[in-house]
Symmetry: C2
Subunit: 343 residues, 2 copies
DNA sequence: GTGAAAGCGCTAACAA
DNA sequence: TTGTTAGCGCTTTCAC
């Protein structure tokens, strides 16, 4: 920077002003500075800038690269952060990089806030971190106190999914669980409640699973092997639903004629024309914006009280759901007060 | 750090030594320092450390989060870099973040080298960057001079794929192209050469496509609509192959009975049991290691001459390939000298 | 609009 | 083994 200043015959502080887009330097001078920098291949040193500046205006993002929805969120966070004048620092969790390591790196890089994308099992770490910087968790079911939470209305989303299937004549609707994944417990509860509200509590069945294709495929096999298979299945997320779909199709089960399938997330794969999955849409862009905003409120406006943002989740009907052809024979007139007589 | 030093009654430099794992401080003292730091919640400031240190020992990684193989590479790069004492800084390209922006960020963060994962269309930018720091491109077909390249032997990989299909009795083998994607031209050429070597040049057919499920699905539709469909298809990568598979299965075409399908990459989806795709394996871990090593050689050992590392690509036979049932009738005895009489 | 000077938190070279 | 010292490259008063 000294070199650039010397080259255009200015002081270093003038050049600094140019790079910060600060007022106090004419547009013509600005141009000259930029041109000189270009010529000698100068790049502003972020480390030095960070060190001297009071604030870094950096937001750390912690995520798993294998989670497609987290990736979608991360992409949107880039733009949301930029809009509020923040830079994004990515830190990925892998099998060899623990939550603690990834967060420590973020903190060491002077991030002023940390965004957690569907990550946050380690409550001890979270509490520590939250003491130092604002933490916003996206899609975390049970937040540690002091952490802001952004999630979609999973309960409502599953309600819509169940209602849609019921309207199509389905009664035997099973759910493939998300295990310990982000928001899995909320979705499971949403499913159970919805089934109960439709007087279908006795048909509610939660099949163990997780947020992966393979878990979905396994669950589908289990479903096909059962004596009274459901006529519709809701999977905890789209990847899981994809596994279900694939297993079903390979087994010769027609979707949606023989079985309806619903996913969750509306991630990219769901809308691929050859998948065309009925699913519950989470708006990644909206969630990203809300999360960045939550962090910015704490950082720029001094908010202290924790906030929980619940965004709408909405069913997107595509081609994997259809009318139930054959209502489960023994249950044409279900017994409302019934205990589990079927099992 | 001063505070920590004061707390244990040492000088700042002693604490610094502890944090750098440098010799010159007893294990007992070390413990005391670490404990004191824990108590007051101290984290070493990376910006300051970076600023003062001569070298940053940071490697920048540029990639697209939507490319599954790039994600796999990125994960392996974390461990490969750690093994050589480097830290990784991620920078993702998105629709709103150009190559230039992403690289500038990396450079501003004092990365000593840049790893490009299947990215590098903008030759101007690359040339500029390569002048400043070592650049290693993984899976880049036509490198700018001065850039190291790591790729797998795509030509050989496709050779194996074609040979495998030929051995199963296939002759009419089509290829779905990768468009302008990383290494696409190499794979295309590999396919064409292999077909020629098996005297199948007249059956060679390159269907336009790209590295996505949707391109694969579209290509499959086109194949099914053609008068003389092939009995086997090789897709430019696994995502594309997945699109093909799905389209075929939905159209009632049995794989591999009616049609064989081969992918490329052996990414995670290929080995999912319900996909179980025959594919050409690129060893992500090996490529990551080679790329980091290439950068480290320039950085630590002063290598100047560009290097090109070509790693073996190997066919992995799974369940999407099988014997050709019905050899193309008119071509039971192909005419070796034949011009394109069929078209 | 511009320049001089202080210092952000750390590391490295050296002295003790 | 430990302490002293001088910056790394930038931003930021404050005086001009």
């Amino acid at each position: 920077m000294r070199d650039v200043a010397a080259r255009v015959g200015l002081s270093q502080s003038a050049v600094s002003l140019v790079y910060r887009n600060a007022p106090g330097v004419g547009p013509e001078t600005r141009d000259r500075v930029l041109r000189a920098a270009e010529e000698i291949g100068y790049h502003r040193d972020n480390a030095a800038s960070l060190l001297r500046r009071g604030r870094s205006r950096q937001l750390g993002v912690l995520f798993r690269m294998r989670h497609p929805f987290a990736v979608e969120l991360a992409e949107h966070i880039y733009s949301a952060a930029e809009a509020l004048g923040y830079q994004v620092v990515l830190s990925a969790m892998t099998d060899t990089r623990s939550e603690r390591m990834a967060i420590d790196e973020l903190l060491g890089n002077r991030c002023e806030g940390v965004l957690l994308l569907g990550v946050g099992s380690d409550t001890d770490v979270l509490r520590d971190v939250a003491r130092r910087v604002p933490v916003v968790a996206i899609g975390l079911a049970s937040p540690t106190p002091g952490i802001d939470v952004v999630r979609s209305d999973d309960s409502r989303g599953l309600g819509e999914a169940v209602a849609h299937l019921v309207a199509l004549g389905h009664r035997r609707i099973s759910y493939i669980d998300g295990g310990g994944g982000p928001a899995a417990s909320l979705r499971r509860r949403g499913y159970r409640n919805a089934m109960r509200q439709h007087d279908l509590g006795e048909f509610a069945e939660v099949i163990p699973g997780e947020y992966t294709e393979i878990a979905g495929a396994r669950a589908a096999e289990q479903i096909l092997a059962s004596e009274q298979p459901p006529t519709a299945v809701i999977a905890a997320n789209d990847e899981c639903a994809l596994g279900v779909l694939d297993s079903l199709i390979r087994a010769g089960v027609k979707v949606p004629d023989d079985m309806s399938v619903v996913g969750y997330d509306d991630s990219r794969i769901a809308s691929l024309p050859f998948v065309d999955l009925t699913t519950v849409r989470q708006d990644a862009a909206m969630m990203a914006t809300a999360a960045v905003k939550a962090a910015a409120e704490r950082l720029d406006e001094g908010r202290r009280d924790p906030r929980s943002v619940v965004l709408p989740a909405k069913l997107v009907v595509r081609s994997t759901t259809g009318h139930a052809l054959v209502p489960a024979p023994a249950a044409a007139v279900p017994d409302p007060g019934g205990s589990a007589a079927q099992q």
